[in-house]
Point group: C3
Chain length 337, copies 3
């Protein structure tokens, strides 16, 4: 079995199915704390180094909140430390120094491979919070956890699911990593819907097929898709050579309640990595879906806190101690209602 205690979390490639299930079981146990039914002091006195060398408000705050919910403190940095870099400091040196200031580090950096390079110099465990176009494992885990949890609520599980992925599947780090994790489960059907030019990379499709999953590729959202999950993504306009070219795709895969009703089942779960573009000309997920109980996009971000709590607890070896340090929540909370 995978040992989390004291180790880095850098890539989805580190996870096998047993490790995933372990994370999910611990994430489930974190729910009462996130809902403010109780709180824990298990990490009182521990320090997270929340090092965001690239800005990402929601991911940064999610990591910090997860650590606070376990009772720990957070020291933080946002944006590149230009002075040290300009003076030619290596990532190894930065890691040696900053790892002296905390018990565990969550790190985001714009450069692919940078977090793994940093981890080599670090004297404490490092969790990758996104390294450029490369990896963002906690996002993939929270997406997978959401799929699992939504299906469990309906008496199901991940095995056997039909998952539709829609939009720009070529550039989306999110759908690549999620696909790699899903590949570890059994008997899935993937329907990949995108403009031909923005299709899922062959390397990812191969991973899915090599694991025996069924893969359907199309450039049209047509007929009944019959999917259990509809994972919608953003058309990444900045990747196109001209606005004119990008405009060819804009709104092509928009989803609203009418389109949902036409193509999907009444219980198809709608997901999106967020932020969604709510402007009329993009409108990947129309606001009229906010009333649809299957819209899981805000449950995804809530689950992100649970998954990050689980990863912190496992990495610091306290996953079985948390409830021994339970305390009562004495303030009013809208969440525990």
């Amino acid at each position: 079995m995978h040992t989390f205690t004291g180790n880095h979390i850098l890539s989805v490639d580190q996870f096998d199915r047993a490790a995933i299930e372990q994370v999910f079981a611990v994430a489930d146990s974190m729910q009462p704390y996130a809902l403010r039914q109780k709180r824990t002091t298990v990490l009182n006195g521990a320090i997270l180094g929340n090092l965001f060398f690239e800005a990402s408000t929601r991911t940064r705050v999610s990591f910090g909140t997860a650590f606070n919910l376990l009772g720990g403190e957070v020291r933080e940095t946002t944006g590149m430390s230009m002075s040290a870099l300009a003076k030619g400091e290596s990532l190894y040196d930065t890691a040696r120094v900053l790892s002296g200031y905390s018990d565990i580090i969550a790190m985001r950096h714009p450069q692919a491979g940078s977090v793994a390079e940093f981890a080599e110099g670090s004297r404490v465990p490092v969790i990758n919070g996104g390294d450029g176009a490369n990896e963002h494992p906690t996002q993939a885990l929270l997406d997978l956890y959401t799929i699992d949890k939504e299906q469990r609520a309906m008496g199901g599980s991940i095995d056997g699911l039909h998952i539709a992925m829609i939009g720009d599947l070529k550039h989306g780090r999110t759908v690549h990593s999620l696909s790699k994790l899903l590949a570890l489960f059994n008997n899935l059907h993937f329907t990949l819907i995108s403009p031909i030019e923005l299709g899922m990379p062959d390397s990812i499709v191969s991973v899915l097929e090599d694991h025996g999953h069924k893969v359907t590729i199309t450039d049209q959202l047509s007929g009944s898709v019959d999917a259990d999950i509809c994972y919608q993504t953003r058309i990444q306009e900045e990747r196109f050579t001209s606005q004119e070219e990008a405009n060819r795709y804009r709104g092509r895969f928009r989803l609203n309640q009418d389109i949902y009703t036409k193509h999907f089942k009444s219980n198809t779960v709608i997901m999106h990595p967020l932020p969604r573009d709510s402007r009329a000309e993009a409108n990947e997920l129309d606001n009229d879906l906010n009333l649809n109980p299957n819209l899981a996009i805000f449950r995804q971000t809530d689950n992100g806190v649970l998954v990050r709590m689980a990863l912190f607890a496992l990495t610091l070896g306290v996953e079985n101690l948390v409830s021994q340090y339970d305390q009562t929540v004495v303030w009013h909370s809208n969440k525990s209602n």
Copy 2:
């Protein structure tokens, strides 16, 4: 009676006199914690989302300190989250996501109405820390609390006071909101001193007159003003079309010890929303007033912490629990001397 528990605080219009008096009573009870005579752990484990989408060091730190003094943790963001906005995320979505990361939110944003819009999407109470030219209710409450406290120290109260407001009364969000709150009290006399072009808006003057208060409007600081409170403001140069035009007003309403002695009573309380412009050419409040015991400007900012503690305690429903969680302060404090 107003119910604070679980509700947003967005505007001074939410407050009636009973609600104000409730806030002030709780603020009074916070004094021993701010003076470090004791500390409390009532909010241990609670998380404030301190979301400053517009920079404001003192307001941001004041909110954060107030929450720490109650025992809570603070997760923070400063400046616009450009990436999510550039990708077209709505304030509703931002609120749904970020409200999953904390128990209560204090928010500042440059756009009028933004905080109320955010609050509609939030699943936890939101306190408005300033939304552009619109509202800054905690500033108005701390100003009012200061007036009340200064008068109580002299055996008086707000009812019956004579309040002079001086400077740019047209553009100052502060004096508008404060006037609305003061209007709820009885038998006040307002002397509004400003260049004619920078006078208090008619809508505010009407509120004061409709509540039966006496309003004197003048463009000269002359003779004996006989006011109990002198609320000085900054000439907001950036609102003028030219520096030449602005220079016509510069230094016109400066206050120093000589001018104070000439026009005011020996116990007239001097207030200012801060920061004051201490440069010689502006000099709204000369440094020679620092020795004047009636200069209340730093007591105002200290009172800001008490008022924000009170609002947090009331909104989270712990106002009667705070002292049950008292602890001894074991470190040396210059404040408790």
Copy 3:
């Protein structure tokens, strides 16, 4: 004896030998907390105002971590508060306001003398975290503490040491302050190695000689230096009028394992204020030294946390209370292995 409790720490000039030894004794006692063998709650509820008006990631996080390790909370600001400054606020006013928000302040500011000016307005103790070209006393203290600790590990002490300082000794705030502190000890030998144009200022050399220390000045690293400490610094290229001029010095005092073996003893301790320039053309300390057990540069930054913990404890008067508030560390730590 020096009294720390309730007082500012602004300059190395405040320290005599007894005060230094007091700081070092307290710093030693902080080691078990930094190594996570235990934790303390002595400053639970205390608030540090970590005011970095100039960015410096490692110094800022080091101060914050030191305060967290003692159990306290941290409120922070990074970068100039442009709005208040643009509105002409004085440092005195800023200090009066912000000192109402914390129990103690650590402050960095780009302008020489600014921290002392701020301290005059502050109602709580202020620790100088660097004020431009002027002072950075906690860096000097951690350097001195490292020298002491490295020698103690070999059965020695500071008195009688031979210390080589290499590189740009003219512009380095670090070597100036460290020299002033070292001057308080007995019978030292300083070998100052730099290009003639970048030599140690006469004022510092005079301090060393006036205290009876031996000073050797040279522009060559040649022969056997026989030093106990090799304090390497960065050639500060930005101080030169042209890149061409700077290039005359680049690489001239680089140090790698071969050069170390040729000129130094087998137990000469290697120090550097960090960050080191690891680019090939500068290479002040080659990465091949990372395997050399005498490379103390990362022990320096670790020691920085201990020294800052000591200064916080002494200034808040809890240096003898810390261990009364000991708690068990329940999470796994690579540091306590």
